[in-house]
Structures are given as structure tokens and as C-alpha cells.
Amino acid sequence: MDLAYTPEEEEFRARLREWLAKVLPSLPPKPSPDDWPGRRTYDLGWQRMLYDAGYAGLHWPVDAGGRGATPTQHLIYLEETEKAGAPYVGANFVGLLHAGPTIASEGSAEQRARWLPPVLRGEEVWCQGFSEPDAGSDLAALRTRAWRDGDDYVVSGSKIWTSHAEVADWCELLVRTDATAPRHRGISWLAMPMDAPGITVRPLRTLAGSAEFAEVFLDEVRIPVAHRVGAENDGWRVTMVTLSYERGTAFVGEVVACRRVLGELAREARKNGRWDDPALRRRLGRLNAEFRALWRLTQWNVSESQRTGGVPGVGGSVFKLRYSHTRQELYDAAAEVLGPEALDLGREWTLDRLSSLSYTIAAGTSQIQQNIVAERILGLPKGR
């Protein structure tokens, strides 16, 4: 067991730090949260800077245009960019972390050449069209239909929880191409151009008041058959290849950020006098233990995937279960520190408290994650 970084890893960190210190002051001002076109421009601009400096697609394989970095280098990258206050992946999320890797793994040579470079260079934005109003945790129940008509699919249905839909160029879309086959075997993966006729995007206002998501309605949208990645009706497997490719790095930046927030909470509490309450101190002390452990678990999972070369694993479920819960605890503790101020939406922690509520729901609810842990790790029988 070795927590020390190798000289090569330390050199990678030092070069990255140096570069961040140089470029971050030159960034344009951050756009306001509701300025979607502004956010797109800002996020793509940051991606372009990463590309020019050789950091784009750090964790992508080299033959897909990536840097082929090790999981540990990726961990260092995420840790350092968060500590330096660099922009988040933002609008590049789906392109860099899901659609891109899916195309890299399952796409044809033409598809890779068409779609991957613009993601790396910060030229195109992807969004995700997986969930539907009646297909949430039970994703395989999706009903958006696609019919063949010549060289096109004609697609009708609706998608939900789509981030960046208003400003995306492409949507990775799961559609049902065979309604008679068993549910998991009648699904295909399509790349849908977001400017195609028949697409209506309706922003979805969350309980935090902002429109972070959208509903996407599809009315006989024509998508070329050539835009299908993988075989027809093999879309479930195509999608899961990437979803299960877990390097343990999914929440690195967030854990770093939570630890910073926790320190800020303690200082705020000392300033406003609530630190004198031993119950609050104990609560914050406990959270310190939690986030320290989550950081160690991250290092553990990353080291594991470094050894195995990135395994389809369920260890990520263990991490996500604890992290999503602890993040909510953190912002509940923030409310105790703030007292009446916790009701002021002008306080950053109040908004963060609201958005933390999605963590035990998004990307697999805690209940589904517990089923996964129980069945796939502990070997308990399937059933309800």
C-alpha cells in the first residue's frame, strides 16, 4: 500500500499546476447561470485551451485522439484543476465522458473521425437522450420509437433530464428499433443532430429554480442510419460498455470541493459563534472523517483500476452511495451553521443544499445502487 506519488506523477502534477497558474487569469469572466449560449462558449473555450496544451481527452485512448493517461494522472488532473478553481467540464460533459468514449469504443473508423476530434477541440457539444418520462430507473422500458425509412430512421417520442439540450449540436439517443424483441435487445444507439426538423426542447425548471435540464420532444425526426453506433438492436450493450467503464474518478473534483467547503463551514461557525456548540463541532468533525475516507476510497478505487487497466466494476456504486448521502449531510450541516441565513437564496450554500438533493437520485437512485451492491457484489438473489 503506497500513497506516495511516483516522480513521474509528481512531475505531471507540477507541469499542470504551472500551466493552470499561467492560463487561469486569462479566462474571460464566467457567464451567468441562465445564459446558456454564454455557458456554451465559455465551456468550449476552456476545452480548446486544454486541447492546445495537450490535456484534452486525457483519459481517452491514444488511438481515439486522447492522451492515454493513467487513472492516477487523471485523478491528479481532476484534483489540481479543482484546487486551482479551473472551469468545470460543463457543456463538454456528455461528449468527453459518455458519448465520446462510446464512439471511441464502438464506433466505425468514419464515425470516430467525424465525431471525436470536434469534442476534443471544443467545437461541438453533446447532450444525452436516455431517460424518458416512463423510463427512469427502469431505463430499458424506454419507448421512443425508430422506424426504418430508406437510409433514415424516423424517430418519435420524448426524452427527459437532458442537460445542455438548448445548446447541443448532437444528442446520444437511445431508441427502440424492435418493439417485439425482449426489452434489452430492441434498443439502438443513434447520434441525432439537434438542428434536425421535428425536435422541440422545453426547459425543465428544477426545485432550485433554474433550468438545468430540458425535456426533448421528437416528432418524426429523420436520423441517417449511418449515425447508428453499433449494430441495430445492440444499443443497450453499446451504452453499458461505457457506463460500466469505471475508473473511480467520477467524483474526484467534487470531493476536493466538499472538503474545502467543510473548512469554510468551520471558519464561518467560528465567526458567527456557533462553533461554541459542541454538538455542531462533533457533527463537522464527523463530516471531516467522512470526506477524508471518501478521498482515500477514491485513491483506492483509482489504484485498483490502474492495476486492472480499468475494469467494469461495481465499486463505484459503493462510493456513490456514501458520497451522495454525505454531500447532502454536508449542506444540511451548512444550514445549521448559517442559521436563519440558510433561508436566503443569495447564500451559495443554500443553492448547493437544494442541488444536493439530486445526488441520491441522478445516475442511479440510492435504492437502485443498493440493489446493485446487494446482487452483484454480495450475491444476494434477484427479486423484489
Binding site: 500500500m1 503506497d2 500513497l3 506516495a4 506519488y5 511516483t6 506523477e9 492516477t72 467543510l262 473548512g263 463551514l265 468551520a266 471558519r267 467560528r270 463541532r281 462533533r282 463537522l284 468533525g285 464527523r286 471531516n288 472523517a289 467522512e290 477524508r292 475516507a293 471518501l294 482515500r296 476510497l297 485513491q299 483506492w300 483509482v302 489504484s303 485498483e304 490502474q306 492495476r307 465499486g315 459503493v318 452511495l321 456514501r322 435504492q367 445502487q369 443498493q370 440493489n371 451492491v373 446487494a374 446482487e375 457484489i377 454480495l378 450475491g379 444476494l380 438473489p381 434477484k382 427479486g383 423484489r384
Partner: protein, 299 residues
Amino acid sequence: MDFQLTDDQRALKAGVRELLTARFGRERLRAGADDGPPGLDRSLWRELGEAGLFALRLPEADGGVGLGLPEAVLAFEEAGRVLLSGPLIATYLAAGTVDGAATGETVVAAVDGVLVEWLAEADVVRGDATGAEPLRSVDPLTPLHRVPAPGVSLGADPDAALLTSLLTAAEQLGGAARTCELAVQHARTREQFGQPIGAFQAIKHLCAQMLVRVEVARAAVYAAAVTADPTDVAAARLLADEAAVRGARDCLQVHGGMGFTWESDVHLYLKRAWVRTQRAGGVTQSEGMLADDLLAGAD
């Protein structure tokens, strides 16, 4: 960075497990519980000494094994897993300073707050145990004495409290992992309503959370073994205590009525976990240290 067990560490862990399975199986555990009061098995103690358990950190030149804290933590995790009896940590800490401790010839107990574990069986006692009175220990496998004046004298080593806390965390981790296994075994075989109870989500989710607590605690305990940093140790201890106590509680719940019986092993895990939580200042001290750490460096 390679935060995974090395091949040698895996082999050591497997070796300790093999030794303990052979020499401290369930029959022995139950004999202590059912035929009490438990005495210390001197021949087992010597065998543990021969195997190097108490001498793990002594240099090879002094007859030790010359290994570090991570290895000690792995060995104590295995000890915790089988509820190995005796003042293991006090004897480990005395190796090198108390004659015969390293080889298992001498059994060493230590005053920790107002409590002393295994006082009557010890050849050497660290700290002032004058006026110690036996109490009716909640754990049938850990005899306890109470001393009139609280003191902490876990050993001559300045890091004794830190190491006691870390190795206690390791034992708690082992116990927590074992109760998770016991709960899963029971859930897979016990049938009600025509199916294994483990097919019900209510049971699945209890078991899943047990595993989550074990794995989070494992990362914290192993990291603390590598860094030996007091705040890391406090975090490890807090999470391992919780994993052990709540793990045993949930294991008991999964076992239903049988879990409430004396003949089930589950209560032995819960009671030992309770005993361990009292060591080296316990949870209050850990939480306080972790809270203070948040303001470290702040003006």
C-alpha cells in the same frame, strides 16, 4: 501511488487468517462464551508469538519481523474478524520493552481510562491498576476491571494511544466485514414467504449499507496505517467503530429472532465492538480532533 495491498501483504493476511482458522475456530470461541469465565489460552498466545504477531514491528535483529504498521493493521484486522481473545494490542505495544512479550511468553495488559482488559490473566500491567475491581463485563469474552483513578498508560511508546486507536480500528474493520458476511450468508439461506429473505429489498438494502460502511472504513483504516497521521487515525477509528457497531446491529436484525439468542454468534460481535469503542478516548476524542483539524491553519 499504488493504494492496494502488495502481494506480500496479501500473503501475510492470508497466512494470519489460516493460522487463526486452525487455532481459533468457532468451537474455541463458543467454549469461551458458553463455559465461561474465559481464561487466556497460553499455548495459543505463545503460538501467536511464534507466528510473529506481537513482534511484527520489531527489527529482525531483535528477533522481530521488521514489518510496518500496514502489516500490523492487516494482522489485527484478521484477529478482529474471528474475535481473537486476549490483550493483543497491549502485548503488541510491549514487545521490545517487556521481556517475553514479543514471543508470547508474557501477557501484558494496560490501563486505558478507567478500564483494564484481561487484568487477572496478565503477567505485566502497564499503568496504575491499584484498587482495580472486576466488573460484570457485557462481553462474555473480555474480562474487564475498573480502576478508581482514571489514567492512561497504554505503554512506554509515546505513540501508544495513537497505535491503540489504529489497531482497534483494524479489529473493528475485521469484525464489521465478518458481520456483513454472516448477514449475507443468512439472507441467502433463510427462507420466508417461499423465498430467501435476501431476495427482499428491505434485507438487501441493510446488507448493502453494511458493505458500504465496511469499504469506506477499510479505505480510511488502511490509509491511516500508511500515514500514521493522528487525524487520519481519528477518522479511521470513527468510521471503523461505526462500521463494527452498526454492522453487528444490522446483522442481528437480519438474523431475526435467532439473532437475539445466546447460541447465535452475532451478539458476541456486537458486544466486542462495544468494548472496543471505549478504548483510547473513544468517539468523543476522535470527533473533537477531527473538528479542530478543520480550523488548523486558519488564523
